[in-house]
Symmetry: none
Subunit: 215 residues, 4 copies
DNA sequence: AATGAATGAGGGTTCATTCAT
DNA sequence: CATGAATGAACCCTCATTCAT
């Protein structure tokens, strides 16, 4: 039994600590020295784990998006109720968001920092992820409704903005928030939440709040 | 007749140029030297107009919120249709946002940079502004609906996130976007936009798109 | 009757205020802006009264030494008791010093700042002044006693160091200090102050403490 | 065998070089660039050895006072002749002063620059040092003599002023100066130096000039 | 696998000074 | 007489990064 942390474990610890610092001070104001202090690893020792500060940000964002995508794929089994799909998407997003608020803040807030290959790499994952949402919405939006692009990004705006205002003691947990936002997005604020909706078959919504399951 | 710009005009020019640079590179990566180059004013000469880089950011944000609030007050005449009020609020926000995208990006993206008095000053205006929205929503939300806080910030998230994705050539103008977002927020994406809504007396909505006027 | 201050009066006010600031912060740390604030005269307005910061320091030091020398000449009438002369010299120095502590601190502390003509000008007056003391001491020192240079500068050291420690509430006034220092310098600390000294005719010592007048 | 200088040796070298520059130009006019040039260490490299210019000054002053105090304690063995003690004190002070003129000038001239903790740290040592002199003087001064405070600071004035006038080629070495100043301070200038004094048992004055040893 | 020591580039800011008005 | 506006030079300091060990 070897209790020494492996390379990967150490790297993950560095990513987590760095995300915390980037979230707190912002990427540019955070210094590698801050990260050295937070991790207990010497300034130059850190460069064993990443090539540059920019790569460090990339690793954080890439790992974050990777996990987000993976969770999404695991949690989104087939099914033919796009509304339920959307709810699952939102719930997945918010669960991960609130469980990894620092990483997600870095993802949301520092999205324009990366350049070159790093930028391209993250952008690709982001595009894939966004397309998932877009695809779901494409099935949902009625003719003559809101533009798909507008709808998609409005949804992401609602969700990603969370890092600016969310307080765990006041604003409910991820699932509650997911329900609210799904409701707002699909039915609007004017519709009472308990309201009976058009019958829709449950699309792989096991575990989802009962409201989404037509009785 | 003196055509030389006054102190105030020069200051406003500096604020505008600085907002552009802050929007492009982010506050921390932008240097006063960048601003000097963009304005044609010498590095030290700039300090005649502001005391510090932080004050410069404050001036931008404060002036921006000030104008936003002022426009809101001018454009929000009495009336008793809260839905119309909300539409006006959103339209005012987006009109200003898209007409001053750089400033608004700075407002949205660099909201945590300021400290001390500067931070407090902007926060006060922001709170006042947010409360306007919140007050309108309080009249709109049905019992058992979405939490007021959640609704309010979801709305702002939808609107403020725009700076990350809006492209004038693809995404319609401010008024169109305002209409879409009002629709999403109040009725939800599932509702077709042309749909007849509950009759509601026009609440000071002169100039608003016809859809909001009940036939 | 014109109550507006004349050029000279304004200049003197500036010199006084500047001496205060130089004394407090030191010449190099003090800025012309500080002086502008202290005098109420605009930054550029000050340059009507002096050509440069260095000239300002010169004016202060020159005026200060000038007054010191003038007072000395007025207060040092003939007489043939060199000890009494010395006492008068010391008293004159300390009276002026304590009545103009800020100026004297600037004189003592910033003596190496000036360059070129300015430096030469002040140095000349300082030399003349120092020679007065030296001349008096030359008559006093016994054969085989302390070196004249050493004695002279030890005396000035004792006196000029005052600016580092003097507190009006604890350390007596100028005349008391002058008596003490004269005593230390001539008779030493081991000699009680009241002790009868060798008879010496009063050398123009009107107003001096009785101890110096042989009964 | 490693002949490369250790961290401490390098730091001491930097302190010495910096003291030289501070002595020459004054703390505020001296720039870190000057020190970089004098030491051959790059501008930023210097900050590996101190946190700020102010800390650099502190290190110089603290180290200087530390050595001064240590030498004093080593050189001041017991004994009951306070006059001999005083002579030793003065000799210790002047030996160190003249052997480290640049540091001592910095100590004397830049004593008001430090702030906060740095200031407090040096002030504590200075107080301890001054009290040594004061304690000795307290035993020496006769009733009705000069005030203790006045005597103490007059002595320090005499000694510390040296940096303004001392020239090795004209003014004797440290021990000669110490003898002169002790003489002036205790017996006064009027007393010839060779004069027989009250018999006093030698108080640990090995190595002191013969004059202090009663025949 | 890790670090102490060092550096070039660049950052925000201050300052004495000028000059048209 | 006096000032508002402006500037070039310089200053202290921080940073990401490197390299010998």
């Amino acid at each position: 039994m070897d209790s020494r942390p492996s390379y990967d474990e150490k790297l993950l610890g560095i990513l987590r600590a760095s995300a915390g610092i980037f979230a707190e001070k912002g990427y540019h104001r955070a210094s590698i020295r801050d990260i050295s202090a937070a991790t207990g690893i010497s300034l130059s020792g850190l460069y064993y784990y990443f090539r540059s500060k920019e790569e460090l940000l990339f690793l954080i964002q890439d790992h974050c998006f990777g996990t987000l995508l993976q969770r999404l794929e695991e949690g989104l089994p087939g099914g033919d109720d796009p509304a339920a799909h959307l709810h699952l998407f939102i719930r997945n997003h918010l669960r991960f968001f609130l469980a990894n608020r620092e990483e997600m803040k870095v993802l949301s807030h520092e999205s324009e920092v990366l350049t070159g290959e790093y930028r391209a790499g993250v952008a690709a994952k982001k595009r894939r992820y966004t397309e998932r949402a877009s695809d779901i919405l494409a099935e949902l939006l009625p003719r003559g409704g809101v533009e798909l692009r507008t709808a998609t990004f409005s949804l992401f705006g609602m969700m990603n903005w969370i890092y600016t205002w969310y307080r765990p003691d006041r604003d409910g947990n991820a699932d509650e928030l997911a329900e609210s936002m799904t409701h707002i997005f699909l039915r609007g604020c004017l519709t009472p939440m308990g309201a009976k909706r058009d019958a829709a078959p449950d699309g792989g919504l096991e575990g989802a709040p009962s409201i989404w399951r037509t009785g």
